[in-house]
Amino acid sequence: MSVVATFEIEYLQYLDTEGRLIREDLPAFARDIRQLVDIYKLMTYLRVFDGKAVALQRTGKLGTYASCLGHEAAHVAIGSAMQEDDSLAVSYREYGAQFFRGVRARDVLMYWGGDERGSDFAGPAHDFPWCVPIATQCLHAAGSALAFKLRKEPRVAVCTVGDGGSSKADFNSAINVAGAMQLPLVAVIVNNQWAISVPRSAQTGAKTLAQKGIAAGLDCIQVDGNDLIAMRAALDHAIKRARHGHGGTVIEAVTYRLSDHTTADDARRYRPDAEVKEAWEREPLKRIRAYLSSLNAWSDEEEAAWKAQCGDLVDAEVNAYLETKSQPVEAMFDYTYAELPPDLAAQRAEAIAREHGG
C-alpha cells in the first residue's frame, strides 16, 4: 500500500506550570517584557472582573453569567495578537480577547444583564457580538475572511469555539470552506475539557481537537492554552500566515474551565473536585506571574497594588452598568428592520400605550 499523505500534530509549550522556560527559542514579542507585563495585568483585571460578575449574579444584580476563570491566557493571547481591523467572532466567555479590543466590562455586564445595548459595545464595529448558538460564529468569521479576501484587504478573521463547539456542524463547515477558498481565518478551539457536563472524551474519538484541521486541509497545532507565551506565539504565527494569504489555521488551546459552566450550572454534579483541584495547578496567571517575577519584572507589591486598582476599575464599570436605565419599551421594535414596517408601527404604538396604562 502506498502512503499518499502524512500529517503530524505538534504541541507547543514555552512555560512549565512553575513558569520556567522550557524552550530556547523565545519568540520576539516575549522579549518585550513591558508588553508581557501589560498583558499579564489585563489577565489579572479579567480575573477580578470575572469574580465580581459572578458575585453580582449571586446577589441578583446580573442574569446568568458565563465565567472565564482559567481561560485567561488563551483569551488575552487572541486579543493581543490581533490588529484592530481584524475581526473577532467569539462565543460568550472570551472577554479577555474583547477587552484588548476595546470592549468594556460594562458592555459585558449589560449583555448578561439582559440589555441588547451590551452588544453595541465599545469594541471594533466589525467585531461580532456574543454568539449563543454554538459554533455558528465560526462561519461568520469565515464570511468575514472571505469579504477581506475578495476586497484584497490584509485583514484576518479570528474565531473561537469550545471543545463542545468543535463537534458542531458550523465549525467544520467554517474550517472546510476556509481551506477550500484559502481564507485568512484563524480558528481557535478553546478546549477547556467540558461542554457543560459533557467531557471532551464524549465529543469525538479524535486524539486531539487540532487534527480537525487536517480534514479541512488547514495548518493545525495543539498549544498549552494556559501558557500565555505559547498561545501568543501560535497566534502570531497563524495570523501572519493568514494575513499574507497563506491560508487558515486551527489552534487547539488546551486549558480547563475552572468555574461552573455558567452561574446557572453546578459542576459538582458531574465532575470530581480532585480534577478541578489538579487543574488549578496548571492555571495560567500563576505561571506567567512566576515567569515575570523570575525576570524581576513583577513584584508582590506591584501585584497587590494592581489588584487593588483592578478592584476600583471594575467597581466603576459595575456602577456604570447598574446605573444604566432599561431601554424604553419601543426599543424592542426599533431594530427589527432598518425601517419600521407599518404593521409593526401599529404594534409599537400599542406597546407604548400599554406602557402608559392605555
Binding site: 442574569g63 446568568t64 463542545g164 458542531k168 464524549a202 469525538t204 424592542m332 400599554r354
Partner: protein, 326 residues
Amino acid sequence: MAQITLIEAVTQALAWEMKHDSSVLVLGEDVGVNGGVFRATQGLLQQFGEGRVLDTPLDETTIAGLTVGLAAQGMKPVAEAQFEGFIYAMLEQIICHAARLRNRTRGRMSVPAVFRAPWGGGIRAPEHHSEANEALFTNVPGLRVVLPSSPARAYGLLLAAIRDPDPVIFFEPKRIYRQYKEEVPDDGEALPLDVCFVLRDGTDVTLVTWGAQVKETLEAAEALAADGISAEVIDVATLKPLDFDTIAESVAKTGRCVIVHEAPRTAGFGAEIAARLAEHSMYDLLAPVERVTGYDTHIPLFRLEMKYLPGVDKIVAAAKRTLAAG
C-alpha cells in the same frame, strides 16, 4: 400519591415508558449525568444505564439525524434540544426525514420519535433561550406538535407522544416548569393526542391558548368573572393535528373568540385557528376574532421580555372588546 411539578411530570413519564418499553431511549446534550439543564432527565441514567440515556456530541444535526436512524431501526428515541432556540439545526432532518420517511417508503419505514425542548420566554434567560417557535412545525405534514401546560397534561401527553408511531415535537413551557404542583398518578395513562382541553366552562367568550399563557388566560377568566363575564378557556395543547371541533363548538356557544399565544403574531399558529373560524364559524361569530400575542419582533433580552409577552391585562381587554363589539 405525590404532588409533582410539570418538569417532574416529564421525568415521571420518561421513566415510566423507559421501564415498560425497552426500545425507548433518551438522547441529547447533558441529559446523562447532569440530568438535563432543567433536570428533565434527572435520575434516568442511574436508573436505566448508559445504553438508554445518551449524552451526544454538541451538534443538533447529529442528535436529529441519529434519532431518525434509531427510530427507523425500531427504537423509540426521545431526543432533547436543550432549548427551543437550538432546534433549528434539527430542522432538515426533522422536515426531510422524520416527517417524511413513512410517506416516502409507503409505510415500510417510520420515525416513532419525540423531539422534546423547553420552550418559551419569561425566565430571565440569555438570548435564544426564550423563543416560541412552534409555528416552524405546524405547516409541516407528518408531524405532531404538542405543548402541554400542566403537570398532568405533560405526563399524559408525553406518554402518548412516545407511544405514537409518528414523530412528535414536544415543547415544554419552561416558565411554568415549577410553577405549581399537582397530583399526577404514575399509572402510565396517556392522554389523547388530538383533542383540546376545556379548562373552564363559560358562555360569553372563548379564550383559546396554549403553553405558559394558559396561566395568564385562566387568570384573565377569573378577572372577567369578577366583572360578570363568563369566559370559556381552551388549552389547545395538541396543536397539530388540530382539534378544531372543540373550538368551533365553544365559539358556537359564546360567539366570541380571543386567541392567546406568546409567539409573534404574524403567521403564528393563532392565525390557523382564526382562519378556521373565518372559514367555518363566521355565522357563529358575534364579534371579530381577537389575537393577543407576542409582537412581530424578537423577544427582547430579559430586561424587557415581560413587556413582550401577552399578559392578563391584554387578554381581559381583548375579551371585553369582543363583548363590546357584538
